[in-house]
Symmetry: C2
Subunit: 305 residues, 2 copies
Amino acid sequence: MKQLQVLLVAGTHGNEINGIWLFDEWKKSSFLINTHGIKTFKVIGNPEAKKAGKRYIHHDLNRSFKEESFIKINPLNCERTRASELVNLYGEAGENPCQIALDFHTTTASMGSCIVVYGRRDADLALASLIQNQLGLPVYLHESDQKQTGFLVESWPCGLVVEIGPIGQGLLNSRIISQTKLILETLMEQIHEVKNLNLFFPNKLIIHRHIKSIDFPRDEEGNIDGYVHSLRQSKDWQELKKNDELFCKLNGEIIRFEEDEPYIPVFINEAAYVEKNIAMSFTKRELWNFKKEWKQALIDLIHQK
Amino acid sequence: MKQLQVLLVAGTHGNEINGIWLFDEWKKSSFLINTHGIKTFKVIGNPEAKKAGKRYIHHDLNRSFKEESFIKINPLNCERTRASELVNLYGEAGENPCQIALDFHTTTASMGSCIVVYGRRDADLALASLIQNQLGLPVYLHESDQKQTGFLVESWPCGLVVEIGPIGQGLLNSRIISQTKLILETLMEQIHEVKNLNLFFPNKLIIHRHIKSIDFPRDEEGNIDGYVHSLRQSKDWQELKKNDELFCKLNGEIIRFEEDEPYIPVFINEAAYVEKNIAMSFTKRELWNFKKEWKQALIDLIHQK
């Protein structure tokens, strides 16, 4: 059996710096974080953007991991180049092949901590289940979004995003750092347990399945002319029912939620999503039965069968 | 007597947009905001930066109002040019001379609402006293800071900054908009009362006098290697006593407040101040007797004697 290697990424967005702090702390005092002897590689996702104090230089790095991007290095696109580089260094067929990628993010939305999975890969769902079972975190299943693709973790056989908020861009915050550390350690501990076949998977997984994102209200010229209603602001994960308030418009009109079935909003008023025309995303909360295939996929991956 | 004219500025920093929203709302429905018949000019301070979604293009506009800047237009400095333009348009000797400037800002720090005065000008202190008497807001006296000069309101005979937080950069927030509106209306109402000589000034003014700003801890290479301690985060306006925790360093060390006299911190972890090497500012809370000269200066100004 080859040695299991795990890629840890922080600063995929250059202005989300709390995970980077944790890596620096860890470098200084290796005892601070317990990885249970599993080999890890800690990298800053987008060091150029970090230096510039920006989310990205040319394109969002976490939308740059598309198959076609890896064909050639493009000197005019810092992020496509970095995506290729990371895959060449730590991808499954790279210099230091990693089987699992964990990508640490922050949000300006009042989401607390959550795990994001991209699509329904068995090993991802198994690992997310283990974390939900340990920490009770919501799991956000991001799928069916044609406008947003090419996420970093998708380039690894198994990968999760950890998303923590609220925190302003470019700021360090003691609470966010502690929460990041807790989730990182829990992830490593759970991977270790699977490695030792000391398994305890839950029967159910609560999934917040992405349905769609909605834009802010806009005027005829395309300018935003409505803000998130006070009853919706900071109410991530709280169920929306028909006629609930969504936005206040410039003309005083209130825009309400008009769907018949309840949705759960997330990423409400996330600063980085204004440019993506996203005021919030809607999810459906679903209770899924844990599947044996998920468990087997994660075991096979970690044991590199 | 010439007509009193008041300059209202929002978006002096292009990513502080809640005041701009209020102006747009007001344009649409003029009854929404009561200015008591006083002539106002509403301007976006830095429209270029607003378009770019940034605090500024070349330099902070609210540090660009220096006498020497007004000598000539500099096409390579968008903000110096804009500062001259605003003074030419609305300055005391401008096309539409305004006697009072009110400048609406937001902060990512948990400051709530406050009034900022730059230096100890009589009319500013009188107007700030009226607002404190109505709304109980803290008044932050910014002075003795050689590194920060050239503030917009200093170019008008009387001028206050309204600062409201916490809110992420570039975001609209219903609470911030409501608070901005309340303070704007209260300011106009109080100016109106002075105009009508219907005066009620308090006997005392509580001032938070700026003492100094402190930087984040840094390593030998100048990189930030400490974050605001969890006991200090979001504790703006709360008194610091000797040995209180200020920062956590990368090496685990806690940096404490070591002065003998108590200070009151403000702008704790303000995102825009990281580039200014400011982790927070220290003030002293002082109770000042209201002075007759302040009142007279404001009356004279508003009545244009």
